[in-house]
């Protein structure tokens, strides 16, 4: 056991894991976090707190994690390399660990051009792979990048993201291999809509033996409208939404209902893919739907440990 988080226990026990997201608010008010924590407790094993996702300023990931932990909900903090150099990243990792945060997702981060502070100076001292390798060395040897050795290293379970749908496609498996070599314990994938392409990526991943070295949590994203599907297809780089998915959303009488049904079907399918050890449900601005999705996809009850 590396960090002893609930997520780590679920994955190590070989059970199908469930993670979901809680989006921190664009304000200093902790109430939405507390509200969602209470509502979602018990419906997933851990919840990601995004780190200024799409470069929009929000309540910080670490503070959000501390807030939901008061409600006895396990966080996965996200740490992007966009806003912090190696001094701040290592310092925040120590701080997070001291607060009892045990899951950390390492990300390069969305470029600030997508957000609401376009004039910001970015950092990118690391990318997600170097971040993983540095955090891994810090937790296992207590050694900083600069060589200093710490007496009490952080206790963290390390995750990363990977997008099977970004180009060059044939390199995505190799890139996951780099992340695994760097120290990733689990990976949450980009939202999957093209199941055939995901299966192909999984073939590559299994071919490289990565499914034995890292826990793969397949990303799903329930959509509310056909417009949202079209937007993701056309406007979100590195996202593939096949036309049959868009048509299905378009032709549905109740598109929200169809979005949920589609998501549940996807989870059912993902459960059958060898090497997929869980799902990551990204119900963006639709957190209320997580309990229903988890229930109808047969993911409940979630395991508990003494």
């Amino acid at each position: 056991m590396k960090a002893g988080s609930n997520l780590e226990k679920v994955l190590d026990s070989g059970q199908f894991a469930v993670t979901a997201e809680i989006g921190p608010p664009q304000s200093a008010n902790p109430a939405p976090l507390t509200h969602h924590a209470k509502m979602l407790r018990g419906y997933a094993d851990a919840f990601n707190l995004t780190d200024n996702q799409t470069a929009v300023v929000r309540l910080s990931s670490i503070a959000s994690a501390a807030i939901i932990m008061r409600e006895d909900v396990e966080p996965v903090i996200q740490m992007t390399c966009r806003d912090r150099n190696r001094i701040a990243l290592q310092s925040d990792l120590l701080g997070a660990s001291a607060l009892g945060i045990r899951n950390v997702l390492c990300l390069t981060g969305d470029h600030q051009i997508f957000g609401n502070e376009k004039g910001a100076k970015n950092v990118f001292d690391f990318d997600s792979v170097t971040e993983l390798s540095v955090f891994n060395t810090l937790r296992t040897e207590g050694k900083q990048v600069g060589g200093e050795v710490l007496k009490d290293p952080p206790k963290v379970y390390l995750g990363c993201a990977e997008n099977p749908f970004a180009t060059p496609y044939e390199w995505r498996g190799a890139r996951l291999a780099k992340k695994v070599a760097a120290g990733a314990d689990f990976v949450q994938t980009q939202a999957i809509f093209d199941m055939d392409m995901f299966e192909k990526w999984m073939d590559d991943v299994r071919g490289r033996g990565l499914d034995k070295k890292v826990h793969i949590l397949a990303g799903v994203l329930p959509m509310k409208t056909a417009g949202a599907a079209r937007y993701m297809k056309n406007k979100v780089p590195g996202m593939i939404v096949p036309d049959h998915v868009i048509d299905r959303m378009k032709n549905a009488k109740d598109s929200k209902e169809e979005g949920i049904k589609l998501c549940i079907e996807q989870i059912e399918h993902l459960k059958t893919i060898k090497g997929v050890h869980g799902v990551h449900i990204m119900a963006v601005m639709w957190e209320d739907m997580v309990p229903r999705i988890a229930k109808e996809a047969g993911l409940l009850p979630r395991p508990t440990f003494e």
Binding site: C81, R82, R86, T108, G109, D110, H111, I113, N122, F124, D125, F126, D127, S128, V129, T130, S133, V134, V145, A161, E162, N163, A166, T167, P168, W171, A174, R175, A177, K178, A181, A182, Q190, P237, G238
Partner: protein, 234 residues
């Protein structure tokens, strides 16, 4: 080369308006090649300023000048009289040229006529692109001759990120993804193994992060004696 572009004419006119005698000094090096501050652009700028002045009833004297390389003192010396005579120098060189004049004549006011952009190359007629950020520790032997620090929007060393879309960068879909290009280049060369291993954190201290840089070549420096001789010759 250093790639720059002229500031908007309205901004330049506003900057120079309070000064009677303005020396507009271009440079025949990089900024001439990128069509920002060579002889032609200096003349055009002066004409445009004169036209504005006629319209607005303002009286100013302009001197249009060009030097070979404005970042080298020897070349700037050639227009020293004009610099000394002017109330304001509007440099149409990159910021290095402007700063060279400003440092040589500390009592003179020197304004930039250009916005200095980047270290880049001409891609085709009228198109220039950034290819280096001067990190002080070149790694392109590991990345197929393509610099990810300059050409990836996130300066990733282990790319491409999840936003690489049909070989293009998520930040600007008109621009190629540097890591896609690196992958394609190394695939062609059958050297993909170069990027299979985790590239460790980069030491940025050799770049601007380490503070302002000065490179000194002791073997190339003049002795005190030689310096005196050179001063005497001038």
């Amino acid at each position: 080369m250093i790639v720059a572009k002229r500031k908007p004419m309205g901004d330049i006119a506003k900057m120079v308006a309070p000064y009677k005698k303005v020396a507009v000094i271009g440079c025949r090096s990089c900024v001439a090649i990128c069509l920002a501050g060579g002889e032609k652009e200096v003349k055009m700028t002066v004409s445009a300023l004169k036209v504005r002045n006629r319209k607005e009833g303002r009286e100013q004297q302009f001197e249009a000048l060009v030097v070979e390389r404005q970042c080298e003192k020897e070349w700037v010396k050639e227009v020293e009289d004009k610099v000394k005579d002017a109330d304001l120098v509007l440099s149409m060189a990159c910021s290095l040229g402007a700063q060279t004049i400003a440092d040589m004549y500390p009592e003179k006011i020197v304004f930039p006529g250009l916005d200095t952009g980047f270290f880049g190359v001409p891609e085709e007629q009228g198109v220039w692109s950034e290819k280096c950020v001067g990190c002080g520790n070149c790694i392109i032997h590991l990345t197929g001759g393509i610099c990810p620090v300059a050409r990836c929007a996130k300066s990733m060393l282990n790319g491409p990120c999840g936003g690489s879309s049909n070989g293009h960068c998520e930040v600007n879909l008109e621009i190629e993804c540097a890591w896609y290009a690196i992958h394609e280049r190394l695939r062609l060369q059958k050297r993909l193994d170069l990027i299979e291993a985790v590239m460790p954190p980069k030491d940025w201290s050799t770049g601007h992060a380490g503070g302002r840089r000065t490179y000194v070549r002791e073997d190339a420096r003049l002795t005190q004696h030689q310096k005196k001789g050179k001063e005497g010759a001038q």
